[in-house]
Amino acid sequence: MLFNSFVFLCFFVVFFAIYWSMPRKALYWQNAVLLLASYVFYGWWDWRYLSLISLASLTSFLGALGIEDKPSYKKPILFIVLLVHLGMLAYFKYAGFFVSSLMLALNSIGFKMDVVYLQIALPVGISFFTFQSLSYAIDVYRRNLTASRSWIEYFSFVSFFPQLVAGPIERAGNLLPQIQQQRYFNFENAGKGLQLILWGLIKKMMVADVCAPVVDSIFSNSETASLTELWWGIFLFGVQIYCDFSAYSEMAMGLALLLGFQLMKNFNYPYFATNIQAFWKRWHISLTTWFKDYIFLPLGGSRVGKNRLLLNIVIVFLISGLWHGANFTFLAWGFYHAILYGVYIIWLAKWQIRVPTLFGWFFTFFCVLVGWVFFRAADIWQAGTYIEGLFSPQRGFSMHYVDVKLLMSLALLVFFEWLHRHHSFGLDLGSAVSQPIRWSLYLLLLTLWLVYANFDEQAFIYFDF
């Protein structure tokens, strides 16, 4: 069930009515309805995977109770919880990749065998709810958090449908206490929620989904595309992935606000960053902070020697790459960013090399765009060819992929994001703008969305992760 689908609209309207018609001081029922709706939402893709999310929830729920109640066994219990979660992730997401890679490697050193490509369907959102469950168990282990005693509350936390399949990856410390409290309808928050949803729909359906066919076309013809087309393709992919992913996060935040919850911010205008460190503080914030808290800091963080720090950065970024998908392209993408990040914080930032803001922004944006080639390419060979083409003037300067609708969508995006770059999201007009002007703008944007959005119900890119 996609946020940008008619069926979701019907689902949410019915759920919203039931959810807020629960009697006051009936927290149990409010959570029960929330849990049921979340399972219906998730089961809509494939009801069989409900057992998977139930197992993940049950393991971390019981594990956390065990850790808290039996402190002397907390290490083995945490180990079991990690084993179950990472085992599920390894099987569904990485088994095919590792088996085929191993067989190819063995073939290359002389062991002749037929390479087997395992066909294991990837349950939608598995990386997100696994990381959410893991952080809960680890936080309880570290005594940063008290274990939940109510299975309904905990299961609702893991399966909370607005952010279940593509984040933000919520920490139990933020979301669980909200689930444990009665929610009351808040007019201002609900209004802000609707604005977030509108802006998310515009970014997804008017920008990302309009860029998508052009990007697909350029990448599928990357061997013959001209230099300008290759740059245009990677620029549009940068826009597409940002709009696609941040739109989901913003719609998730908006839906949560309508239900009385506040989710963490996942994007903070990353393309306006003026260095690579700032970019990573603004891009997919929930995952970046997750890696920082549960991998980078336990590895020693930045309070280590230069070489060890570089190694830590490489480890974190390689895992981040692998988290996105089982493919060498994601590993290459992670490694590429590790080098950029490492070079920046170990040398450039330390030596306090100052560069003009505009140059910093341009260079950061340029580096990020080049990195997206690895992310989008079908395989490492295509990525190599594409990058080579980006720097080959002999490819020529022809251009076949520009149309008015696309340019209009890009202009709309840049205008609002730049104008409100100091606000919480692109359509956050603040209180300075009078209501008639705000309403006129919303009416105009809603109409533009109706006329020019792509209504093909395209899935979000991050569902694949």
Binding site: W20, F185, A190, L446, V451, Y452, F455
Partner: protein, 304 residues
């Protein structure tokens, strides 16, 4: 909560009102143009009410080409008769689509003596032509058209309805203008094997799939029933192409002869040969049309 619901409700009503107003004015704006059957492919813009016409043409772009530019006047002068052309180009005119227009034609109280169904063989192997969401983007909004669209058995009908309504706000509709050019002067320079292969891939997305063909035959039968129930005399025409026979030509011809005995079937696949008569591989230019209309007329008269 009540305040929220009232505000949201008011906002939605205001939005719908504004959209309705915009659609109303767009309708007036577009209608003020002088559209004729020869200068637009928006059929509802020109469809008569309570009229009798001598010939009604249905089909895809090859049928539409009988009216494009000055071809419509040529047809009427060669046949010395009136003609309404409801065929749809731009890959929008499938059999269901044409049946929809035929029903509209009759429900508006019109009559025709002869129905010419330009049956390009690709039409019988391609279900996609009826699946296009933008099928009605050139048509003014009419409630009766919406009803007929919903009555269609098409899987995409709700999408098509949605796009039909929202297209009235888009710039394509506001900027709809008559195409008043009079000639197709372009000439096909040579038969290009690669371009043809590419074209066939688009025209036959499932190849010569038997299941698709059978489904299209059923849809064709429904269309034929509607036409004959309203007293139209049917003529099937397989249109000419610079390359001669389309893939699946034999199967289509055999089906027409077997299924519809007694009806006119004109196989004009090779009736006009020579690149000079085409502006692409299968669309006649104005010179080609002059030659072809004489042949078509001769064929119809002779069969009578």
């Amino acid at each position: 909560m009540r305040r929220f619901l009232i505000k949201v409700g008011f906002f939605v009503i205001l939005w719908l009102f504004l959209i309705g107003t915009a659609i109303f004015f767009s309708h007036l704006w577009v209608k003020r143009q002088k559209f004729t059957n020869a200068n637009t492919e928006g059929n509802l813009l020109i469809m008569p009410k309570g009229n009798g016409v001598d010939y009604l043409v249905l089909g895809i772009s090859h049928g539409r080409n009988l009216s494009r530019r000055s071809h419509h006047q040529l047809f009427e002068s060669v046949f010395n008769a009136t003609m309404v052309n409801l065929a749809q180009g731009e890959s929008l005119g499938g059999i269901e689509n044409q049946h929809l227009y035929l029903r509209t034609f009759y429900e508006k109280g019109n009559k025709t003596n002869d129905l010419i169904l330009v049956l390009s063989p690709s039409l019988m192997f391609n279900a996609d032509t009826d699946q296009s969401d933008i099928m009605l983007y050139r048509e003014p909004l009419e409630l009766s058209m919406m009803r007929r669209l919903i009555d269609m058995g098409n899987d995409r009908k709700w999408h098509q309805l949605f796009f039909y309504i929202k297209s009235k706000l888009g710039h394509h509709w506001w900027m709809l203008k008559p195409d008043n050019k009079t000639h197709f002067d372009g000439v096909l320079t040579a038969i290009d094997g690669d371009a043809m292969k590419e074209g066939f891939q688009l025209a036959y997305p499932n190849g010569l799939d038997l299941k698709t063909f059978q489904n299209r035959c059923q849809e064709l039968n429904q269309l034929v029933n509607t036409a004959e129930a309203n007293g139209a005399k049917l003529t099937f025409v397989i249109p000419p192409a610079a390359f001669g026979y389309w893939p699946g030509h034999g199967a289509v011809l055999a089906h027409l002869k077997r299924q519809y005995p007694g009806r006119r079937v004109l196989d004009h696949s090779e009736a006009v040969m020579g690149n000079a008569f085409y502006y692409d591989h299968h669309h006649l230019n104005t010179e080609g049309m002059k030659k072809y209309l004489a042949l078509l007329y001769g064929g119809m008269v002779r069969k009578d």
